[in-house]
């Protein structure tokens, strides 16, 4: 009975995350078929607004990026970055307000010091330096946002061509369908 099947499918559909979220590949970007995947931690007050401006201004940038909005760049414990790489991200961007412009006055100063130490550590773990970036992107810098994404995706595509990106090796308990990154 077609109606029953539809119901079952709809039920399953409610269990699985919506298309285009962090946990589900974008159409045409399924694992192995698409380009590199980039996760961007954007601070709510500057960089996220900058990305919004890029969108509003119809600026073109590659669709490989997934945006994760955080209240402040200081919210990003570098352990999140480690985890993002573990979950199969090819690149990670952390973007916040320019130093001095933080909505919370000083959040990004902590980020700056933290990531100055963390970035070489990440490299030491065998993550190519081009796979991680910290950028200051203000709410008016839509162009800058689009440019950073273009640059990073181009870098990652180059690494992919060179075979410099490690294979994704997710455990059965992790990954796109696992409970570990269920959205919401």
């Amino acid at each position: 009975m077609p109606g029953v099947e539809e119901k079952v499918e709809a039920g399953q559909g409610a269990q699985t995350p919506a298309e285009g979220t962090l946990t589900q590949p974008l159409p045409g970007r399924e694992r192995g078929t698409g380009g590199p995947r980039l996760l961007a931690f954007l601070c709510n007050w500057c960089s996220y607004a900058g990305a919004d401006l890029a969108g509003g201004g119809r600026l073109q940038y590659p669709p490989n990026v997934r945006i994760l909005r955080v209240p402040c760049s200081a919210r990003v414990d570098p352990a999140f970055v480690l985890r993002a790489f573990r979950l199969g991200m090819d690149g990670v961007l952390v973007a916040g307000c320019h130093p001095g412009d933080c909505h919370y006055s000083e959040g990004n100063f902590y980020t700056r010091r933290r990531l100055a130490i963390f970035t070489p550590f990440l490299n030491y773990l065998g993550v190519h330096p081009k796979r991680f970036r910290l950028e200051w992107i203000s709410a008016s810098e839509g162009r800058r946002f689009a440019q950073v994404i273009r640059e990073m995706v181009a870098d990652l595509e180059e690494l992919q061509r060179q075979g410099e990106l490690p294979e994704r090796n997710l455990s059965p308990f992790q990954g796109e369908d696992g409970p570990i990154c269920r959205a919401g």
Binding site: R83, L115, A116, Y124, F173
Partner: protein, 322 residues
Amino acid sequence: MSDLEQRIRDEAMRALTERGAVCVIGFRQGRRPWRVTPHFATTPGQVDQLIWNAACAGNLATYVIAAPKPVAVVLKGCDARALAVLLQEHQVERDQVQIIGVPCAGMIDLAALAPANSATWKRVAGLDDAAGEVVVTAGGKEHRAPRERVLLARCRTCAHPTPALHDVLVGEAVAAPAVEDDRYARVAEIEAMDPLARRQYWLDQFARCIRCNACRNICPLCYCRECVCDLREPRFVAREPNAEDNLLFQCVRAWHAAGRCVDCGECERACPMAIPLRELGRKLEQELRDLFGYQAGMDPAAPPFLAQFAAADEEKSVAGHE
């Protein structure tokens, strides 16, 4: 009984009877002649069990947070720096802890003397150290080895053997061990690999990990009531051991100890799978030293390093560099 041991007991007795401590943390003899175990003396009668020898490698600062206060604790140079970090983070207040500092000539690596549980160890009747020599009595015979040859790797490059932070110092201050060793030589070797080989190196090391959490349990700085790595929702790190998640777990641990880890080396000593855990922390330590000239555990009154910032950080920032 060595003079040092007697002085530790005297100070422990004084702490309990005169200085108001309700507990003294030190070492006592374990079940085997070469094993020592933490001792919590709460009555003057228990003070006589305190010992001191070259096997007292454990970091007793680990037990200070949970101990009844005021507490007195026997600390070596590295342990006292770990306690300084706990003071910086207000996990314990300075007036609640009395530090019996012991200048440390380096602790011996029992694994280097002989593999644990081997027949040799079963015959060992005693372990002694005096005048730069370690004396192992086994099968009625004495085996002697120069102390610096059987030191723990961490002790070979120790820069602060005498605890700067102490209330009483027992024994003479000692200079850093004579054994020369470049502290960051191994870091440089790992950095010389290309990124993918380096990643594989770490995965190979951590494929052995059984996730027993001994490293976390023994670490004086891993005092979180709930570790992010134990979270179930969201599950931060997969629970079943696999190389990638084992590595993630340890990297999160290393990172959360950045600017705090004093390289007491207990994680590596506790590891039953002989994973070179100190290699992770030492890279962070090197970055802190090279970029910021910071060394953890030197100033118990300073705020934690990563809870501060400075205008000069701008030059070290990784943002905007191509």
